[in-house]
């Protein structure tokens, strides 16, 4: 079976690697460099603190996969299970977090509900004056996103797959009832199956064939400080502010905030973000006031209306779509890659991914 995967981000590479391991002939097409869309811009938080039962179960299976990924790919992928702490600033948020934690515990996770005093005692680096409490999952944490990209890339090549870069996809063409053809700047490709996993780029490829999906692009911004002595153990999320804080293996404090909706392909960094992030960061961790910002960057996140991933066959022949949505690509790509590759090879939809099947909009008949 020959499969063309469009986009060498964490999602496309995970699917491609898993297809190659299962015996498919896989070619990945990448327009710039591996991970260049969003994967190498992510800060790498991985957690299971979701509200929805099926999403929690998927996150649990993903964690099992991640724990063994270095060995499987023969590549060092630091998955640090240093914990993931979600902080609430209002009673309403805390009630929601505690309800989520109850669902998580009923599924076997050990998510702890913490009072403000427990947060203060456990994490003395935090200024908890605006915090009412939080939830902590000790087995969650973060991965180094570059290493996952490079690891899957190596795994793909080790299993006979190919990655062609730069190859720019121009158009998706229907060819008969069940078959598509992909036009690129390097020529046209035919395959038994095509997988679109190009993040923000997926939608424009679909649009080239009068298809569409109901997603919106958001610009997210990130910053990194100079390396500091290691002091921050759990990854931290401020639930309402959507502020995500991690300390990298090199000691940099990395902070991520989703910004505005963006229809342009705009990945510029803004001074507004730096000021906003600095205010929020030093508010929750006053000792960071003396830390210097080394750099800031931005990424475009394709987001679905319910923030859930889109994974599956689009319903017209041999075309499949995989999109993480809201940064869940980096979180769920390992398990989604396994499930999608099984579905593509068998031609049957994956029962576990059933809730995430693409709702494709047909602007006019593609055939």
């Amino acid at each position: 079976m020959r499969v063309i995967v469009v986009g060498a981000g964490i999602m496309g590479l995970s699917i491609a690697y898993n297809l190659a391991v299962r015996g498919a002939e896989v070619i990945v097409l990448e327009g710039r460099y591996p991970g260049s869309g969003l994967s190498v811009r992510a800060i790498g938080g991985v957690h299971s603190q979701w509200r929805d039962e099926r999403e929690i179960k998927l996150a649990m299976r993903n964690r099992d996969t991640l724990e063994h990924l270095s060995g499987k790919l023969d590549f060092n992928i630091p998955f640090r299970q240093d914990g993931y702490l979600v902080l609430a600033t209002t009673d309403e948020e805390l009630t929601q977090l505690n309800e989520n934690a109850k669902v998580q515990r009923s599924l076997g996770l050990k998510t702890a509900s913490l009072s403000r005093e427990e947060v203060s005692r456990g994490f003395p680096m935090l200024d908890t004056s605006s915090i009412v409490g939080g939830t902590l999952s000790k087995d969650d944490g973060s991965i180094h996103p570059f290493s996952v990209v490079f690891g899957y890339w190596k795994g793909l090549l080790d299993n006979g797959g190919k990655l062609l870069r730069p190859t720019i996809v121009k158009q998706l063409q229907p060819k008969g009832e069940q078959v598509w053809e992909l036009e690129t700047d390097q020529g046209a490709y035919e395959a038994d199956a095509f997988v679109l996993s190009a993040g923000v780029g997926t939608r424009s490829i679909l649009q080239s064939s009068n298809l569409d999906m109901p997603t919106v692009t958001f610009r997210h911004e990130m910053l990194a400080t100079e390396p500091l002595k290691f002091f921050l153990k759990p990854m931290i999320e401020l639930y309402r502010d959507k502020l995500y804080i991690n300390q990298s293996l090199r000691g940099e404090i990395i902070c991520h905030i989703p910004r505005a909706e963006s229809d342009a392909k705009e990945t510029r960094s803004t001074l507004e973000f730096l000021e906003d992030a600095a205010t929020k960061l030093t508010g929750i961790m006053p000792s960071l006031r003396a830390a210097k910002v080394l750099r800031s960057w931005a990424g475009l996140v394709e987001t679905t209306p319910n923030s859930e991933p889109i994974c599956g066959n689009i319903g017209f022949g041999n075309l499949w779509v995989a999109l993480g949505s809201s940064g869940k690509g980096i979180m769920l790509a390992p398990i989604i890659g396994e499930l999608m590759s099984e579905a593509i090879i068998s031609g049957e939809p994956s029962a576990d991914l059933q809730p995430y099947v693409p709702q494709i909009i047909v602007n006019e008949s593609p055939h």
Binding site: R32, R165, L281, R295, W297
Partner: protein, 88 residues
Amino acid sequence: MGKKIVCFCEDLTEEDILHAIRMGYDDIETLKRYAGFSTGPCQGKTCLMHVLRLLGMEKKLKPAQLRLTTQRPPVDSVRLSVLAGGQE
């Protein structure tokens, strides 16, 4: 022969960079993320030109065919307290 260090922030030698290029991390953005140069306190001011020279020599590229990595603000590091406002 002594070590030829090209990146002082991450302690990378010429050998490290050439090894990474030969492993297939052979465009400047991928090489940066694999090896780690240009991401430390100097943000590429010390290392980037050395690495571009090595990449050009190894891949037999002319200077015009080499491109810089995307340069990120701020140009010089800034304390969070300055960006946040308020007292030092």
